[in-house]
């Protein structure tokens, strides 16, 4: 059903939309399972529910930017979306965001289906060419990119009959600063109570580790490319070689005497402060111990026949 798109529209997707869709799906899925669970009954794995909603955004020329989304109720009896609700929501959103239009709709699942075309056609009276955003909720650890696909509808002639089919389109992710901060926050997931010093250190080091790993893999690609060029498998591409040479000249990134001085000074400062804190801790523990000792072996209470101490 899906081939590659030829309409020439560029799609920009905001992370808010993806978070909304996944949140909607997770809520519905967790509400489906009977709360508490019946241990006697066999929990048949129910097929994952499909959720539906509308996506809104702006279309400027050839660029379609999807900013936000809201949920819609799907009536499986009539196989259509709740129209009245949709219009009401649209009106409300219009008041807050006058620029946003209903650009299309979203759903969850692994692949676009035939029934989706009905909904798609139904939306065609609001927007003459709606987009269909599909989120695949199955978690696939091997997959590197997002399980979100954007489909457009195009009129193709199949078996002599002009039909509307879905075609796959590529998209890019566009973020506003606020979105970037929140996605970053979620990605790092620090222990909420601050954890002990060790867990914070481990979390910090893990993030540095992943960043360096990414850099490492990219440099490895460059390295392979240059090796192949040297062996002669790939023809020389001078412009690229010039860029690589200018990149390599930026190494070592910082190597001046002043840096060493400042760095060592800060290092010794940190060590000194740690030492001082440790000292303070030790002396307070010592103080407590002495007090306890004095209380236990006080000269007024010769209960245990022990001699007084100071």
């Amino acid at each position: 059903m899906a081939s590659s798109s030829s309409s020439g529209l560029t799609f920009k997707l905001h992370p808010l939309v993806m978070v909304n869709i996944s949140d909607h799906y997770t809520r519905v899925k967790s509400q489906m399972n009977p709360p508490g669970g019946d241990s006697a009954a066999v929990k048949a794995p129910a097929p994952p529910p499909r959720v539906y909603g509308c996506v809104i955004g702006v279309q400027r020329g050839r660029t379609v930017e999807i900013f936000n989304s809201f949920e819609l109720l799907y009536d499986s009896a009539t196989d259509s979306l709740d129209r009245a609700f949709l219009l009401k929501k649209q009106e409300l959103y219009k008041k807050v965001f006058p620029n946003f239009y209903v650009l299309g709709w979203y759903s969850t699942g692994s692949d676009a289906e035939e029934s989706d075309m009905h909904i798609h056609k139904a939306l065609m009276d609001i927007n003459e060419s709606p987009v269909y955003v599909l989120l695949n909720p199955a978690i696939n650890h091997a997959q590197k990119d997002l399980p979100v696909t954007i489909y457009e509808s195009e009129m193709h002639v199949i078996d002599g009959i002009p039909q509307l089919i879905f075609v796959n389109s590529s998209y890019t992710i566009e973020t506003v600063e606020a979105e970037r901060i929140s996605v970053d926050h979620v990605a790092h997931l620090k222990p909420s109570d601050g954890g002990s010093a060790a867990t914070q250190l481990a979390a910090h080091l893990t993030s540095i580790h992943s960043a360096i790993k990414m850099l490492n893999s990219r440099i490895r690609v460059l390295h392979h490319y240059l090796v192949a060029m040297q062996k002669g498998e790939i023809p020389y591409e001078n412009s690229l070689l010039r860029q690589v040479s200018s990149l390599l000249r930026r190494l070592p990134a910082i190597e001046s005497e002043k840096f060493q001085d400042d760095f060592l000074m800060e290092y010794s400062d940190t060590l000194l402060i740690t030492y001082l804190a440790m000292f303070t801790n030790c002396s307070s523990t010592m103080n407590e111990l002495v007090e306890k000792f004095n209380t236990a072996y006080d000269r007024h209470s010769r209960r245990g026949g022990r001699t007084a101490f100071i």
Binding site: S196, A198, N216, R242, S246, R250, E255
Partner: protein
């Protein structure tokens, strides 16, 4: 990276022209290419067959000029002024810019004295003007001028054409970089493990202390009762 994009069109243009012309007709082309204010890459033009044919003919000086612009500096030109044709002011400017690029290859911090000597400039004001107007505004170099310490710190310098041996050096640098980052990754992982083990040990110690306190409390309460 943007310099490469700016140059890409011009390189194509000159290559097309060069492949259609032959012999001494290439002279004005070479002149134009070397005086062009945004063109800093000459190895593509050098690779065009009609240019390489010039080797050994009476126009070999043209080839030498091109090679000078691709790999050489102002001091090279001064040393060989007898063999090479006279350069027009535009070309001189271009050559000086390329000299700055070559200097930036070796050190990141270029003292004013060295720059003044290489570029044949006598006072600091002229040097700074040259660096600011010709090099930084054209985008081939990015950096900071430190007048107190009389040096120029280079943060980014565009690449010049590669000499034949440079590819090996680049590979060497890249593989060193890779090894260093691999080692760094390993040591970070070890540190993470160390932090985890330490916190485990600490928790265990706490637990042990608490257990002992409970024990002693029990024995004491037994004694009292």
């Amino acid at each position: 990276m943007d310099i490469e994009q700016k140059q890409a069109e011009m390189i194509d243009h000159f290559m097309k022209q060069a492949s259609s012309l032959k012999g001494s007709a290439i002279t004005p082309l070479v002149l134009e290419a070397t005086s062009n204010p945004s063109l800093f890459a000459f190895s593509e033009i050098l690779a065009v067959p009609s240019v390489t044919e010039l080797e050994g003919t009476e126009n070999a000086t043209l080839l030498d000029t091109l090679r000078l612009f691709a790999h050489g500096t102002w001091s090279d030109y001064k040393g060989n002024m007898a063999r090479l044709p006279q350069l027009v002011p535009d070309q001189i400017l271009k050559l000086k810019q390329l000299t700055v690029l070559t200097l930036a290859e070796s050190n990141k911090v270029l003292p004013y004295d060295q720059l003044m000597q290489e570029l044949d400039v006598t006072n600091v004001r002229e040097l700074e003007d040259f660096l600011i107007n010709e090099c930084m505004y054209s985008g081939i170099v990015r950096g900071k001028l430190d007048q107190l310490r009389r040096c120029f710190e280079v943060q980014f310098a565009a690449g010049r054409d590669l000499r034949p041996g440079q590819l090996g050096n680049m590979l060497h640098t890249l593989s060193d970089w890779l090894t260093t980052s691999d080692n760094l990754l390993v040591s970070i992982q070890e540190k993470i493990k160390w932090a985890d083990t330490m916190s485990e040990a600490d928790k265990k110690h706490q637990k042990d202390v608490e257990d002992r306190v409970e024990e002693v409390k029990k024995t004491l309460s037994l004694k009292v009762s």
